[in-house]
């Protein structure tokens, strides 16, 4: 069997979506899709080096840059979910009453409540930095802790230190049982988390399986895939949304 390598982010793979989404494709084309689940930065680096055939990540700016520099072709928006702000039930900074995520972040900073940052250039980290920038705050000081770890581990650290954290909803849902943190803020447009897929440019890397890669990219936006994505539930909630409305 031929194989095609899909580099994606840990959070995407950990939700279990790909495990239901890919088998129909694999069967149809008699191919094995090998998933390399890593950080966003590393996924794009694998694409740049030609070590992956397809890249699926959630960091729009970086994706566009990736395509602009000629590493990726045929980038498509696949789906989106959203980020949520997690915090302790007691909500010491009173984030729940905020009207926007910017206000929520301001409250945390003013209150000097502990805030855990991924600090790893992941899609989530980049989003968090965007929000701080828009809120006009340079986060620094003892309350702001960059831990440089994956989403799950970071949630756990936030839980242990009774702090706030920005998380993608998928990871939070799969962690729900094991953490005391709750969603203290959600629903702002800014927290929109779009996923994009793209094939690695065969002109730079002649060895990539471009034809199969294109089939896979197209499959992600096919009727069949959309159906699967929209009916995919975690803890009874729909996690990913497509653009077909």
């Amino acid at each position: 069997k031929e194989r095609i390598i899909l580099a994606t982010t840990t959070s995407t793979d950990n939700t279990g979506l790909l495990a239901v989404l890919l088998p129909p494709f694999e069967e149809k084309f008699n191919v094995e899709v090998h998933i390399i689940a890593v950080g966003t930065g590393r996924a794009l680096e694998l694409g740049r080096n030609g070590d992956a055939d397809v890249v699926l990540v959630h960091a729009r700016e970086q994706e566009l840059e990736f395509v602009e520099q000629g590493y990726g072709v045929n980038r498509l928006d696949v789906m989106y979910n959203d980020f949520v702000v997690l915090g302790p039930k007691s909500d010491p900074a009173g984030v729940a009453s905020a009207s926007s995520v910017l206000e929520a972040f301001k409250k945390i900073a003013e209150n000097k409540s502990v805030f855990i940052s991924r600090g790893d250039n992941s899609g989530t980290h980049v989003k968090e930095l965007d929000i701080w920038a828009l809120a006009g705050i340079t986060p620094e000081g003892n309350w702001y802790r960059a831990v440089g770890q994956g989403m799950g581990a970071s949630i756990n650290i936030a839980d242990q230190s009774g702090g706030y954290i920005l998380s993608d909803r998928g990871t939070y849902l799969s962690y729900k049982d094991q953490t005391d943190l709750v969603i203290v803020f959600q629903g702002d447009e800014l927290l929109f988390n779009p996923y994009g897929i793209m094939a690695v440019n065969p002109e730079l890397h002649p060895h990539v399986k471009f034809d199969l890669a294109m089939e896979l990219v197209n499959y992600f936006v096919s009727e069949e895939a959309i159906e699967i994505i929209n009916s995919f539930l975690v803890a009874g909630e729909q996690l990913f949304f497509t653009y077909n409305d």
Binding site: H34, I35, I36, N49, G150, I155, N156, Q178, T179, H207
Partner: protein, 241 residues
Amino acid sequence: MDYIVRAVIQAVQLITSFDDSVISIASLSIRVSLTSTLIASLIGIPIGFILGTCKFRGRSLLTSILNTLLSIPTVVVGLAVYSVISRRGPLGELGLLFTPTAIIIGQTILALPIISALTMNATRDMDRVLWNTAVSLGSSRVQAAILLLKHARFAIVGAVIAGFGRVVAEVGASMMLGGNIANYTRTLTTAISLETSKGDFSFAIALGIILLLVSFSVNLGVYFFQQWTRRASIKTGERYS
């Protein structure tokens, strides 16, 4: 403590249910780690022996360098090998990245320093008289080296076991070079790291327990093999005692 109790129960369940995917993951771990330990032993034991027994200028510098290599982080070895076998690297055309072979390459490099260093230590305290005895009984240099290694076999086997321990437990190189692809390059350690990142700590520990059981079986295998060779060697003369 919670996690640990739950982990033990889960480990028992996984083992008694002969879970297919766990079996395939465990068997990949064993295969890959045994292969790399074997290759590293074939290269590392002679290197260690030479460093341990031959006196030459710069030996103590080499010793220090070898000892330093003990502390090379697994992910750095992973990265270094990656940069060679990545598509852009000099060996990119072989398409080794994200295959079990890639893991074996990385693990071999990881096992080499520890096996050499421990062989060096084992043969360093050894008596010159033993070498003279071996040589005067008619050993070629290679035969004499083998005899001395046999003489210090506890420590040599220990070196190999430590090498195996290092690679079967490592995750950095396996993750980097194998990619943790389900049913293909997922080893016990990359699976553990995956479960940890998912937050399923007790499942991660359960897999850790399975890894230890796997490793225990390998160690028992080594033990029985040693017993058996020893008994066999005694058998030879049994008639007369």
